[in-house]
Assembly symmetry: C2
Amino acid sequence: MTAARLRRVKPETPGGREVVLQAALAAFFEQGYHGTSMRNIAARAGTAISHTYYYFPSKADLLRALILQVTGDLVAALQQAKNDASPAPAAQLTAMVRAHVALHTERQAESFVGNTELRSLGEVDRARAVARRDEVGAMYREVVARGLDQGVFRCLHGDEAVLAIMTMCTAVAAWYRADGPLSAAELGQRYGDLALNMVEYAND
Amino acid sequence: MTAARLRRVKPETPGGREVVLQAALAAFFEQGYHGTSMRNIAARAGTAISHTYYYFPSKADLLRALILQVTGDLVAALQQAKNDASPAPAAQLTAMVRAHVALHTERQAESFVGNTELRSLGEVDRARAVARRDEVGAMYREVVARGLDQGVFRCLHGDEAVLAIMTMCTAVAAWYRADGPLSAAELGQRYGDLALNMVEYAND
């Protein structure tokens, strides 16, 4: 670390930070966080290790950057989807599920690392990431509670439905294949329908 | 490895294999497979590294033993639940979901390692583990297809419902806390109801 600090002179390569981050993502995705060294990351990025340390003083900084980025983007994407939908709970719920599936298919490796390496973050960062996941949960719960109040959703256990909807969307990162039978958009559509089933949506 | 082979003399401790396996499980769960060494496992097991190598010639053998055990037990538990239930698709589906949740709460660490470290298995073992997961999927699909044929399930996309039911049950291993508000049995009951919602069960 000391050697790295002495060498913290900004490299000339433009876009270097993003290259290092993507190399770290690929390494964490394939080898796991604990199985990756800064040297592996530098090799994957095709750069000097000092360059890697310039942008990220430690491996923990890389994991933090990746996880807080993707969890922050998830909160923003779901908020946006909710705001853009008609105020009806069913419309908001399906819009959120579509956005959730979209992010986990488009940014599959980040989502997978976010789901599996949360335990590897330090306590403070883990608490920040968990707080963002809780924000996502709170958004879903608000929509489901409103649907139950209005009588358009009729399930008995709204909290379990929310958790199951979230995990169903999250798990997409672990199995989705772009060359599989369903496009990401079709999957989002079908998962939206499943979410409505789970809350027992009745539009009669 | 050579040193280990030379030393393959059966240790005197009874139950030693299970102690080593549980130590490996705890290490993989906390540090990830790639972050764990045979030395870590021996230290956790409170035993000599030669003892560890006696039972498991490599770290890969430990991961294989853990994952194939838990995936095999899952297939057996779901088969049993399906056989013991009344032949009605709704009864079989809920019995399978309850058994799935039970296994993932009782053997949470194994299930979590099975879900997150599948990528760390060698190709042949990964194919065996995936084949068992596919067996579970086939069992669920058979029940759902029969329910659709009989008109008691009415969802449009049975395959997505099955996948979502499986991931909802699997994810329990990542978040369940025995000291949380719901017992494992209550959770299984509620997830059974959610699964019926997902397939649009109508008993009228």
